[in-house]
């Protein structure tokens, strides 16, 4: 299926990636090419086939709900470019 410009703008917005006007046509062309190519999956009969949601049917392990570590907020914020007192700093969101 070919995408139109409006769809590309919509998914870029969903993905929170700003795209310049000059790039929209390029992405529209490239993404359409990829989607047209994956269309061949329609040739496969998947009636009554279960989707594979994990590798070799393994189910995720569970563990006791207990605290195993913690107390290192300084390490957690260490790589943030803008932080204040062991907190991440973001632009104002409430007026």
């Amino acid at each position: 299926m070919s995408l139109d410009r409006a769809t590309v703008i919509r998914i870029a917005n969903l993905a929170k990636i700003h795209i310049d006007d000059s790039e929209i046509d390029i992405f529209t062309r490239e993404l359409s090419q990829i989607l047209n190519w994956v269309e061949q999956l329609n040739e496969v009969d998947v009636k009554n086939v279960k989707p594979m949601t994990g590798v070799s049917g393994m189910s995720l392990r569970e563990r006791e709900d207990e605290v195993l570590d913690g107390g290192y907020a300084d390490k957690i914020v260490k790589n943030s470019k803008e932080k204040k007192k062991n907190s991440f700093s973001v632009p104002k969101v409430i007026e």
């Binding site: 929170k16 329609n42 998947v46 279960k50 070799s56 290192y72 790589n79 632009p91």
Partner: protein
């Protein structure tokens, strides 16, 4: 004994144990070689002081007879593994200046077994690519390039494969999502082993597609790959898909007879785009295995043609979710001159991600979005089930499957970067085993018409790395690739 840097893992272990040289001498040799190299661009970072310090500690352990399994072996690590207090960027601008505060399980195991991290290697950005050209650290040159023809090393573990081939380390670690260990290993004439999904912990590996990502070794011999894999494998509570299974003695497996083994040859891998050279090497491989007493049978994996398109839905979908964490707030790059929180997110991601990563995030977002989920993502997951079923049926009749690793040898830098789908086709033979979570190995088996390495791939049953290692060892002995390396001036 030749040059120190020519020694593989097993030879290094023996040499250190015989006291022919020290770990410090060996590490110094590699550091000098890496720093002198101005052509390959395989490494993104080295820390000579730390590597030498670790070598001294290793030599010290040896003096005290407290030798560890990989003691003193210099290993290069793909820059996708988080290394504690050592910058890690996954070759992406969005992770610039990121210094992990913890060690990935695989590199921790490597260090705990005495291995020396000699440096971090370049890769396609976030492991998304098949040529190492999407790296934010510039292109990496394949050591097999000659004259004007500048070849890609393959990807995404291109830096690791190039470093092993050029003797800049004894072995390396890579990761494989759709072929990212095996394809560059094939292009650079080295061995690449992707273990069964769940064999190695994914904890601390920067995530691309979580249901596919696996760590594994890139090495100069099958035995070297087995030695490394044995040390980095094992159950880890920090990875919910890690499997609690005993790690077998993989080196023993390398010398097992293959007389009782049945090897399947899948007709569907005879694609029209297969080069004659690859076809011939594949035939040659079959003959080698016959001579060693293996039973060869034809098998069918009917859904093979659909593996690649299914992969290019599943992997981008998982990537779009995994890469949502890069928002400019918690770590890495953060855009300037922003007006709102939303603006911060979208500008950071626009400036921080490269073109291929953006393409995959957008495709992934699209196939997961309302109205398209069933048509694309759910459909691809069902096709993935069919691909697993194909393998299950095949493995009722055979112990391993022999295929080429890639449809052709290494291509030139820039040759395929203009067309995403053409680039994706490189992974046509490696992706099926990835989707099914199976162990697979690529080993150098010959040269094409242009004297570029070609690899053969063996795919095994889940958690049966032993079978593919035993069969690969036979192929390795028959191929005698070392003589081609000498003939082509890769090794003296």
């Amino acid at each position: 004994m030749g040059k120190l840097s020519d020694l593989g893992v097993e030879e290094v272990i023996n040499g250190l144990s015989n006291k022919s040289f020290s770990a410090k001498e060996l590490v110094q040799t590699y550091i000098d070689k890496i720093l002198e190299d101005k052509i390959l661009n395989a490494f993104v970072r080295v820390n000579p002081e730390k590597s030498l310090k670790n070598a001294e500690l290793s030599d010290d352990r040896r003096k005290r007879n407290k030798v560890l399994p990989l003691d003193g072996v210099p290993i290069a690590v793909k820059d996708i593994f988080c290394t504690k207090n050592e910058e890690t960027n996954a070759s992406s601008k969005i992770l610039e200046n990121f210094v992990p505060q913890y060690e990935s399980t695989v590199t921790r195991k490597l260090l705990e077994s005495g291995g020396i991290i000699i440096g971090k290697t370049s890769m396609d950005e976030f492991a998304m690519g098949s040529s190492n050209e999407t790296s934010n650290n510039g292109v990496v040159l394949n050591p097999w390039s000659k004259g004007e023809k500048k070849l890609v090393p393959g990807g995404s573990s291109g830096g690791s494969a190039a470093a092993v081939s050029a003797r800049l380390c004894s072995a390396a670690l890579g990761t494989d999502t759709g072929g990212s260990i095996r394809q560059p290993a094939s292009f650079c004439g080295v061995v690449g082993l992707k273990p069964t999904y769940g064999r190695c912990s994914r904890w601390g590996i920067i995530a691309f597609a979580s249901s596919l990502d696996q760590a594994g070794p890139i090495a100069r011999s099958v035995r070297d790959a087995a030695i490394i894999l044995e040390q980095i494998s094992g159950f880890d509570t920090m990875d919910s898909t890690s499997v609690d299974k005993k790690v077998p003695n993989l080196l023993t497996a390398c010398s097992q007879s293959i007389k009782e083994k049945t090897i399947g040859i899948p007709g569907e891998y005879q694609i029209s785009g297969l080069s004659d050279d690859v076809r011939n090497i594949w035939k040659q491989g079959i003959e080698w295995l016959k001579s060693a007493g293996a039973n060869i049978i034809d098998i069918s994996l009917p859904h093979t043609p659909y593996a690649l398109p299914a992969y290019y839905i599943v992997a981008p979908a998982e990537a779009s979710a995994n890469l949502a964490r890069y928002d400019g707030i918690k770590y890495g790059f953060r855009a300037n001159n922003i007006t709102s929180l939303d603006d911060l997110y979208s500008k950071t991601r626009s400036e921080g991600f490269g073109a291929e990563v953006k393409r995959r995030i957008l495709i992934g977002t699209y196939v997961l979005s309302a109205g398209y989920y069933d048509a694309y993502y759910l459909k691809a997951q069902k096709v993935r089930t069919k691909i697993v079923q194909d393998f299950n049926i095949a493995f009722e009749k055979c112990d391993a499957i022999l295929t080429p690793t890639t449809p052709a040898g290494a291509f030139e830098i820039g040759e395929k970067s203009h067309n995403p789908v053409e680039m994706y086709l490189n992974d046509i033979f490696t992706v099926p085993a990835s989707l099914a979570g199976l162990p697979a190995i690529s080993l150098p088996s010959g040269l094409d018409n242009n004297k570029r390495p070609l690899g053969l791939q063996l795919i095994g049953r889940p958690f049966d790395e032993e079978s593919i290692l035993s069969v690969a060892s036979v192929l390795e002995d028959s191929a005698n690739f070392r003589s081609m390396e000498i003939e082509q001036g890769i090794v003296s």
